[in-house]
Structures are given as structure tokens and as C-alpha cells.
């Protein structure tokens, strides 16, 4: 009975950290979030996605083919709360909270309650977990499903386990590599009787079927992200050959400077980056501001100590769970290492489970010494406070532009003046303006589906939409556009240069600023 009395407050605190000011922190809304929200809305109203597909498993969206499970979880919430940022993000916050008891139960299989409660606490307050629970991140759903599947596997509930493993493929792209790796390690470590696994395996296969059938049409996206799609610039290669004093690619080139070796080194570098202190303790994912809090890592700084103690204890223990955690830790960064970004906090999200359990193991060791509790907890608490301050106060000052915060006020302005202009030209400089227009103006999906003018991208990356009702989405070129009439322009400050706006009859609106004071968007109307 007693563990529950401690666990419950931990869960409630975790929930609080995940939903407090969820609509406005992070300040802004990404196009992926808007797409998830609007497609859920579209399913709710019409049973079809924005491209008029009936109940798809994979959503075409911008041409990036999003696995659809998150959207289906969002649909009922939007039914209740309406199409808002909060409603779109809420499922992820709930998944993140559910992860706390799942981790608790996962650890409890093996060890005493101090260990499992420590792990639950560590995940509840973990910066990485909190970050991806605050925002519509499909990876967070996949994380919960993976952990749940492992938990059920360890409880020998093979059918439900394989159901959840299968669903990870419906939840997140990155699962396509990681889930199979994890299943293989489970089989290696626990060596269950294979005969009993045939039917559960068929369950996974059945869930996978619709995805396998479509794999050919969507592989273009993979090419964009894969590391093997990129090679060194010619100048680098020719400099190497010049230094080798050889005009052609000779033996030394193929032995010591080949493209393959260079890519191998790149993969090793990316893999190791996920274990660097820069990533874990100092900056988080430094390659993408959307993925982490400024000046804060994915673990709390004092976890240097718990992680260190934990890893020693883990390596000394020979239990199957220790081996599983180790395998999980070592495999989790692979999808990220094989993709083009130097490091990625979202593709390597599964790392969080082993890291937290190891840190929890270290914390449980500290808990066994009274004196250390009094030394350690105040420091941990201090850093939690430090994180919350950075997240709630400082984050918008640094990364609001990455989170596209100008869209909301700009589209409110457009909606307020909608009836006064024949045409609204909205800049495409922040990316995918159409989806935000659909989202914030709550445009009826039925109407949109009938006039969808989606254009695919010839490079097989994401496509775009340039026209929607009265809206036109494109870069503004003021010297020629200034001649238009009855048009509202919303564009960047260089697209609408201050000195050229003194035209008679022009209507100026107040600039839309970033929280740090820089001008984000400017709106002018020509009558």
C-alpha cells in the first residue's frame, strides 16, 4: 500500500509539469502540430483527412507521410475541447504522464520499491520527457507504446505486448528501425519458448500489413533523411588528392579517404554524440532548437552523479533486466546515428528509458544513505527550478521564431480583417502557412478538401499549398505587388520595407513582434 502513497503524488506532480500552460509553452506552434490537429479535426468532421482519404493509417500531410495514431487519439479530445493548441498537445502530455507508472511497474519487476520509486520520480521531473510531452510529438506516443510493450512482454502477456509493439509502427517513423532491434534484444536476453511466440508474431505482422503495402510510395522521405543520401563536396575530395600528390583516385585514396569510410566516421560521430555530456547534461539537442530547452540538457546536471553510480551498479549486476537496459541504451541512438542530423533528441527519444532507470538506480543507492539525501535533494531541486525558469521564462526569448510564434497573432489579424479585403497575400517565409490558416481559422474540412491544391515537391521532400480561398501563400515582392488593390499583405520586414510603405491609401497595422522584441511580421493593406 505504501508505495502508492508516494507514487501518486509523483504522478500528479508529473502531470502538472506536463500540462501547466501547455497552450503557450513552448510559445508558438509547429506546422507538424498544426497538421496533426487539423487532420484530427478533419477526421472528426468528415471521416477523411485533408487530402480526402478515408480514415488513413498513414497521413500524407505535407508529403512527409505521418503515421496516424496520434491523430486518432487527438480526435476525441478535439471533439470535447475544440480545435486549439491545448487540445492538440494534450494527448502527448497524457502519454508522458502515463509513462511514469509504466516505468514504475517495469522496474518493479526486478527490484525493490526504492529503485522503482526513484525511477518514477526521475522520469516525472526529467527535462527530456517533459519537453516531448509538451507538444504534439508522435515520438512520445511511440515511447509510451514501446515501454508498455516491454512491460507486458516481461509479464509474459505476449499478445498484448505484440499489439503495442505493432502499434509503434502506426505511431512514429523512427520506430521502424528501433522496434525490431528491441524485439530482437528481448528474444536474445530472455530466450522465451519460440513456439509460443508464433501467434503473437502474426499479430504484429497483421498490424504492419497496411504499412508494408505502402512502403514503396513513401520511401522518398527516407532518402531525404538518410545519411547515405549525402556525400562530401568535390573541393574536399580534390584537396585530399592534391595533398596525396595524385591526380587520380589511387590506392591510398580508397584505403584511407573513401566515401564509405567518411560516412562510417560520420555515423560513429553521430552515435557517440548521443552519449556526450553536451547532449545529456549541457544543451540537449544542439542541432534543433525545437527539441530542447536553451542552455539545459536532457538530464538534470546533478544526475551526472546518479548516472555514474547507476552505470557501475548496472554493469556489476548480471540480471536479465540489466542486460535489457544496457542493450536498450546502446541501440536507441542508432536510428538517429543513421540519419542526416548531427544529433537528434527526437529520434533518439527511446534512450530516455534506460537513462532514467540507470539514474533511478543511482538515486536509490543515494537514498540508502541518510546524509547523502540531504546533500543531493536540495541540489536536484535547485536544478529543477532552474529548468522550469528556463522553460517558462526564457525559452520564448531564444526560440520563439523556431516555434513559429508569429502565426497565431498574424492569422488573428487576417481573420479580423477578412471581410474587408478581396485577397490576402501571406508570406511563405516561415513555412507551411496554409496549415496554420486552416487551423487557426478553423476552416471547414469539407470546403478545404474540395479545393485542396497541394503541390508535391520534386525533390521528394515536403510539398506546399499556395492558394486557399482568399489567401495566397508566396513570397511578397513589393515593387510589383504594391500595385495590387483590395489586398491585405502579411510579410516579413524585408519583404515590406519600411521606407517603401508611404503610399497614399495604405493601411498600416501594428507589427507583430517576437518576445525578444525583433519584428516578426508586418501587415499592410491596399484598398
Amino acid at each position: 500500500m505504501k508505495p502508492l502513497i508516494i507514487l501518486l503524488p509523483i504522478i500528479i506532480f508529473g502531470l502538472f509539469l506536463r500540462i501547466h500552460r501547455l497552450d503557450s509553452r513552448p510559445l508558438g506552434f509547429t506546422w507538424d502540430e498544426a497538421a496533426l490537429g487539423y487532420n484530427a479535426y478533419s477526421i472528426l468532421k468528415t471521416g477523411r483527412d485533408e487530402h480526402s482519404q478515408v480514415m488513413p493509417i498513414v497521413f500524407k500531410s505535407f508529403g512527409d507521410y505521418k503515421p496516424g495514431l496520434y491523430i486518432y487519439f487527438t480526435t476525441p479530445i478535439i471533439k470535447v475541447l475544440g480545435l486549439t493548441e491545448f487540445a492538440t498537445r494534450l494527448p502527448s502530455a497524457i502519454f508522458g504522464t502515463l509513462l511514469i507508472p509504466v516505468i514504475y511497474l517495469l522496474v518493479k519487476i526486478q527490484k525493490g520499491k526504492a529503485f522503482s520509486l526513484s525511477s518514477a520520480l526521475m522520469i516525472a521531473i526529467n527535462p527530456w520527457a517533459i519537453h516531448f510531452s509538451r507538444g504534439a510529438w508522435e515520438a512520445n506516443l511511440s515511447l509510451l507504446l514501446t515501454s508498455l510493450a516491454v512491460l507486458l512482454f516481461l509479464k509474459k502477456k505476449n499478445y498484448s505486448s505484440s499489439l503495442f509493439f505493432g502499434l509503434t509502427f502506426w505511431a512514429y517513423q523512427g520506430a521502424k528501425l528501433f522496434t525490431p532491434l528491441l524485439i530482437i534484444s528481448l528474444l536474445f536476453i530472455y530466450r522465451p519458448i519460440l513456439k509460443n511466440l508464433i501467434k503473437p508474431f502474426l499479430v504484429i505482422l497483421f498490424i504492419l500489413l497496411p504499412i508494408l503495402l505502402k512502403i514503396g510510395t513513401e520511401s522518398g522521405r527516407l532518402k531525404v533523411f538518410s545519411v547515405f543520401g549525402y556525400t562530401r563536396p568535390d573541393a574536399v575530395v580534390s584537396e585530399i588528392m592534391r595533398q596525396d600528390n595524385s591526380p587520380t583516385k589511387n590506392l591510398s585514396y580508397y584505403l584511407f579517404h573513401s566515401e564509405l569510410l567518411d560516412q562510417g566516421r560520420g555515423i560513429a560521430q553521430r552515435y557517440l554524440n548521443h552519449f556526450s555530456s553536451q547532449f545529456l547534461f549541457i544543451n540537449g539537442d544542439w542541432s534543433n532548437p525545437r527539441h530542447s530547452t536553451p542552455y539545459y540538457g536532457y538530464l538534470h546536471l546533478p544526475e551526472v552523479i546518479t548516472l555514474f553510480i547507476g552505470i557501475i551498479l548496472l554493469l556489476k549486476s548480471q540480471s536479465p533486466l540489466s542486460r535489457l537496459i544496457l542493450a536498450w541504451l546502446l541501440l536507441a541512438p542508432l536510428p538517429s546515428a543513421l540519419s542526416r542530423d548531427i544529433v537528434s533528441g527526437v529520434r533518439s527519444l527511446p534512450m530516455i528509458i534506460p537513462l532514467i532507470i540507470i539514474s533511478g538506480l543511482g538515486l536509490s543507492k543515494i537514498l540508502s544513505k541518510k546524509l547523502l539525501i540531504f546533500l543531493y535533494f536540495p541540489v536536484l531541486l535547485f536544478f529543477l527550478l532552474y529548468l522550469l525558469d528556463l522553460y517558462f521564462v526564457h525559452y520564448p526569448h531564444y526560440f520563439a521564431s523556431d516555434w513559429l510564434s508569429p502565426y497565431k497573432p498574424a492569422l488573428k489579424l487576417a481573420a479580423d480583417n477578412y471581410s474587408r479585403y478581396q485577397k490576402i497575400i501571406f508570406t511563405s517565409q516561415y513555412g507551411q502557412p496554409y496549415i496554420f490558416t486552416l487551423f487557426y481559422l478553423r476552416i471547414d474540412p469539407k470546403i478545404y478538401q474540395s479545393q485542396n491544391k497541394f503541390q508535391a515537391n520534386p525533390q521528394r521532400d515536403v510539398g506546399s499549398v499556395s492558394r486557399l480561398d482568399r489567401f495566397e501563400f508566396r513570397p511578397i515582392y513589393w515593387p510589383s505587388d504594391r500595385g495590387l488593390t483590395s489586398t491585405l499583405f502579411i510579410g516579413g520586414q524585408y519583404e515590406l520595407p519600411e521606407k517603401d510603405l508611404n503610399i497614399p491609401g495604405i493601411e498600416r497595422f501594428a507589427d507583430i513582434n517576437f518576445p525578444n522584441g525583433q519584428i516578426a511580421l508586418r501587415a499592410v493593406g491596399l484598398r
Binding site: 596525396d244 552515435y271 555530456s277 549541457i282 525558469d389 526564457h394 526569448h397
Partner: protein, 555 residues
């Protein structure tokens, strides 16, 4: 039979460290020249270049280098003259010694308990200490700092010797071992700045680890304590009486103003910048503690250790890590193995060293730093080799064909990586970063000497670090003449200073507008300072990559 293998390993280590040592690294950097010229000065006059009598620290460029290496150089300079070979030789020899010492240390630490410590291959067997010695012999990190007049390498070898004697003492409990351990620890502090932090911490750490054992020998403790005081006295006196401690304030953590700017920025973002919360969270102690932890943990960054190495050109080979790429697998295995092996009786000493090694470097900015944390190479190589050994042991358990093929693959991979390292070091390094080793001064100085009688003044660019010392070194300028007839400039913000004038020479940047009207002067300028037409360029010197290094103008 077994001794034979060790000798072979030492010969390998020696060849790798001595081969063409005068020409690779290609050039001579200012620190090397300073150590050499000060040794020359001490040899001839008993004073350093600035006229200090028998100094503990060399004022040099205002960076107060520990003088140990220069004293060590005196006999070498006496025998071989003031040449690159002479000043680089001691570091190389200490590097070879380190290979031997790490062999001895591993042997001591890895107790001879249950024959776990060798692998049988037919009639031959392979010992763990042999793997360690081999791995250190071919270690890119250790090779790099064994080639060149790097004081740090001597210092690391002395630390190794200190630990070895301590471990010996743990076995024989004789005063002489403990005293030799202390002697070497202290000696290492006379060679390199960082070691002045590392050696005491290591000593303290060992004392704490083996506190109970030590307490049984109070007499030895007292004797040893007095010995320490005696040995440390000159160092303490010199630190107290000169500006030698200024080095830390120049390159120390607190000299980096970046974190402070961030504190100000973060405070400004609070609605009330001076609120309790804002002051509690954003202040100097907090930000510099975070910075220190960052600097410290940076040294265990896999990208730094295994893939790309240090960012500083003088410390890195292009596209090469400090260890071989595949070493990270064996390092991870090694941690697992050493933690779990019952044979590692004294494994605590290795962990202690591993954790203390980067501390001094973490107290400075520019981290991770392969130079300041160089002593990390020893504990890491021991652990990596243990992992390699563990791997072989595991593979041994499988059937013969699997084992032989694994062995062949492993050997092939390491030979290939080793060949690649040599290729990068000898072919690409001099061409990729020629300026890092101040290539070209040797030819320049001999040229200038041949023509200097025709000019009343010689103006030399200071684009490359501390040109004056390279002129002193290569012209073997008499130290008596230099000592009292020059002036050090005021220190810059990193606490460095330089010499602007001696004899006919003047060292300053030489943009054309400034020097065009100065006559009867030979001007040695950086290539970008001189227009290519309308100037009487008498000679141009090139780097190994065919980029111009100097343009020489006669006015």
C-alpha cells in the same frame, strides 16, 4: 621468451617516436623553441632568456612555463647542439619509457591470481600487460605528444612512475617505494602546469583510498611528509614570489567571460532582473559550476576521443581521433570487464586516475583539451586494452574457426587504422595545418642571416606566434647578448607578452601602408599584407601545401 616480446614492443615504440623526429611535426612551434633556447641560455649562462638565475618557472612569453624540461634539455643541447632533434628527443625517450612503465603497472595491478591474465594461443600465451604496452606504443594520442618538445609527456611519464612506485609500496611496504612515489609525483610538478593540480589530487586520492593501510606505518608517513615539504619548497617559494600563478588567471575558467554575459542576458529576460528568483538562479557561482562540469565531462566525449580529436590545430591530426575509431567499443567492454573482474585487485587506482585526469584541463577554457588532459591517455589505454583482452577471451570460448576469423578481422582492422593514422600524420598533417607548427622559420632565419648585413633594420611580421624566439633559436643568438637588452611587452588579456625588439630585429605586423616608407630595411611580411605589384619582393617562402608563408621585401 616473454622478455623478447617486451623488447620488440619497446623497439616498436621507439621507432614510432623517433622516426624523422626533426621533420615531423613539420616546423617548430614557439613553445618548443622557447624551451630549447632557455636550455641553451641556462647551459651557457645559468640564467634564462630574461636573465633570471636558475628559475623554477620560465617567464618566457609571460606564461611562466615550468622550467623542468629546459633543465632536462641541457645535456641534450650540449651534445646535439641547439636543434629540433635535441629538444624533441627527451619527450620521445620519456614516451618510450612510458610504454615500459605501463607494462609494469598493469602487471602489478592485474594480480597474478588464477591465471586469468593470459590467453593461450597454442604454445604461446599473451599477457594483458603486453596488450596494454602495444596499445600505448601505437596510441595516436600518446604518439602525438611524444613527438615534439612537449613537457606534458615527461610529466605524464613521471606520474606513471609515481603511481607504479605507490602500487609497489602497497605490495612491499618499504619506505623507499613510498619515497620514490612521492619524489616522482613532485618532480612531475616541475614539468607541466596542469600536473601541479593533477599530482596533488592523485596523491591525495591514493592516500584516501588506502588510508587504513597507510595508518599502519606512521613513521613512513612522517618521513614522507618531511620529504614532500623539502621537495616542494622551491616550487612554493617560486609561486609565492613571482607572477607564475598568473597563468591560471589568463587561461582559467573565470577568464572566460561568455558565461558571465549569459548571466546578464538571462537576468535581463526576467520582468524584474533583480528579483530573488533571478538572483538565486542566475549568478556567477551557478554558471561557473555548470561550466566546470561541462568542461570536465567534455573530456569523455566520444567525438573528441575517438572520431575528431581536439579542435586546436597543434593538438590534432586531421580526421583522426585521439584513439582509433574502433577503440570506443573496447573501451566500453573494458569498463565492464575491469568492474567485474576479480583479478583487478588494485583497480581503484585506475578509476581514480581516470576521473582525476581531466580536472586541471576543466579548470581552463578551451575544452576538451588533448594537451592539458594528456595524462588521461594512460588510464584509458589500460581500460581499452582490458576490453580488447576481454573480447579475445570471449572469442576464445567459441569454436576455432570463429575465433581465428575474429582474430584475423581484428588484426586487419587495427593494422589498417594504424596505417591510416601514419598516413594522416606524415602526409596530411603538415599540409593541412602548416601554420600550427610555424613551418618555414628555419629557412627564413638562415636566409635573413645571409643578407642581414646589407640592412640597418629587419622588420618581421608577428602574424605567427612569437617570432622572436624562433629567430633566437635558429640563429643561436648568444643569450648573454639577449638577456639584458630586450623588453617584454605588457601582457594581453590572456596574460601573454612578447618581445618586439632585439638587435636589428623588430617584430610587428607589417601591412604595406605602415612599412612602405621605412628605408634600408628588410621586411618579412605575411603574404596578405603585401600587394603583389609595385613592391620589390625579393623572395617568397612557401608552406608544404604551396600556400605562401612569408613575402620578403627589400626597401
Amino acid at each position: 621468451m616473454k622478455k623478447y616480446l617486451l623488447v620488440l614492443l619497446l623497439i616498436l615504440a621507439a621507432i614510432l617516436r623517433l622516426h624523422k623526429i626533426s621533420f615531423f611535426p613539420s616546423g617548430l612551434n614557439a613553445d618548443e623553441a622557447a624551451l630549447g633556447y632557455n636550455a641553451y641560455s641556462l647551459l651557457l649562462t645559468g640564467k634564462d632568456e630574461h636573465g633570471h638565475i636558475l628559475p623554477v618557472n620560465l617567464e618566457s612569453f609571460g606564461d611562466f612555463k615550468p622550467a623542468g624540461y629546459s633543465y632536462l634539455l641541457i645535456p641534450f643541447v650540449k651534445v646535439f647542439g641547439l636543434t629540433e632533434f635535441a629538444i624533441r628527443l627527451p619527450s620521445a625517450l620519456f614516451g618510450v619509457t612510458a610504454v615500459f612503465l605501463v607494462y609494469m603497472l598493469t602487471k602489478e595491478i592485474f594480480a597474478n591470481l588464477n591465471f586469468e591474465n593470459y590467453l593461450r594461443f597454442g604454445i604461446q600465451n599473451l599477457r594483458i600487460e603486453e596488450i596494454v604496452a602495444f596499445m600505448l606504443a601505437i596510441s595516436p594520442w600518446h604518439l602525438h605528444f611524444s613527438r615534439g618538445a612537449w613537457e606534458v609527456n615527461v610529466s605524464t611519464t613521471l606520474l606513471l612512475l609515481g603511481i607504479l612506485f605507490f602500487v609497489k609500496w602497497l605490495k612491499n611496504r618499504e619506505l623507499i617505494s613510498l619515497s620514490l612515489s612521492s619524489l616522482n609525483f613532485v618532480l612531475s610538478m616541475y614539468f607541466y602546469q596542469s600536473t601541479r593540480v593533477i599530482a596533488p589530487l592523485l596523491g591525495l586520492g591514493l592516500a584516501i583510498l588506502y588510508f587504513k593501510t597507510l595508518l599502519k606505518y606512521p613513521k613512513q608517513i612522517v618521513t614522507n611528509f618531511l620529504l614532500l615539504l623539502l621537495l616542494l619548497a622551491p616550487l612554493i617559494l617560486s609561486l609565492a614570489s613571482s607572477d607564475a600563478s598568473s597563468r591560471l588567471s589568463g587561461v582559467g575558467l573565470l577568464a572566460d567571460e561568455g558565461p558571465l554575459r549569459r548571466v546578464e542576458q538571462l537576468r535581463g529576460q526576467h520582468s524584474d532582473w533583480n528579483s530573488l528568483l533571478s538572483r538565486l538562479l542566475h549568478n556567477r557561482p551557478v554558471i561557473y559550476v555548470i561550466q566546470f562540469v561541462k568542461n570536465y565531462t567534455d573530456h569523455f566525449d566520444g567525438n573528441f576521443l575517438f572520431v575528431n580529436g581536439d579542435m586546436i590545430e597543434r593538438n590534432r591530426i586531421p580526421e583522426t581521433g585521439l584513439f582509433y575509431l574502433t577503440d570506443f567499443i573496447f573501451f566500453a567492454l573494458g569498463i565492464y570487464y575491469v568492474l567485474n573482474s576479480k583479478s583487478y585487485k588494485l583497480q581503484a587506482t585506475i578509476w581514480l586516475w581516470l576521473l582525476i585526469a581531466p580536472i586541471a584541463s576543466a579548470m581552463t577554457f578551451q575544452t576538451p583539451n588533448a594537451l592539458r588532459a594528456q595524462n588521461l591517455v594512460i588510464p584509458m589505454t589500460i581500460i581499452t586494452s582490458s576490453g580488447l583482452y576481454f573480447f579475445l577471451q570471449l572469442a576464445r570460448g567459441s569454436n576455432k574457426i570463429v575465433f581465428s576469423s575474429l582474430l584475423i578481422i581484428l588484426i586487419t582492422i587495427y593494422i589498417w587504422q594504424f596505417k591510416r593514422y601514419l598516413h594522416q600524420y606524415y602526409v596530411h598533417y603538415p599540409q593541412t595545418y602548416p601554420a600550427a607548427w610555424e613551418n618555414g622559420f628555419k629557412e627564413l632565419v638562415s636566409y635573413v642571416q645571409s643578407v642581414q648585413n646589407r640592412y640597418s633594420q629587419i622588420w618581421v611580421t608577428d602574424k605567427y606566434d612569437q617570432p622572436y624566439i624562433l629567430f633566437l633559436f635558429y640563429s643561436q643568438y648568444p643569450p648573454q647578448k639577449f638577456q639584458d637588452r630586450h623588453q617584454l611587452t605588457f601582457r594581453d588579456k590572456f596574460n601573454f607578452s612578447t618581445v618586439r625588439d632585439f638587435d636589428k630585429f623588430h617584430f610587428e605586423s607589417a601591412p604595406w601602408e605602415k612599412v612602405r616608407d621605412i628605408h634600408s630595411t628588410l621586411i618579412v611580411a605575411a603574404p596578405e599584407d603585401i600587394p603583389s605589384v609595385g613592391v620589390n619582393i625579393v623572395k617568397t617562402f612557401y608552406f608544404p601545401n604551396d600556400q605562401p608563408a612569408f613575402k620578403i621585401v627589400s626597401n
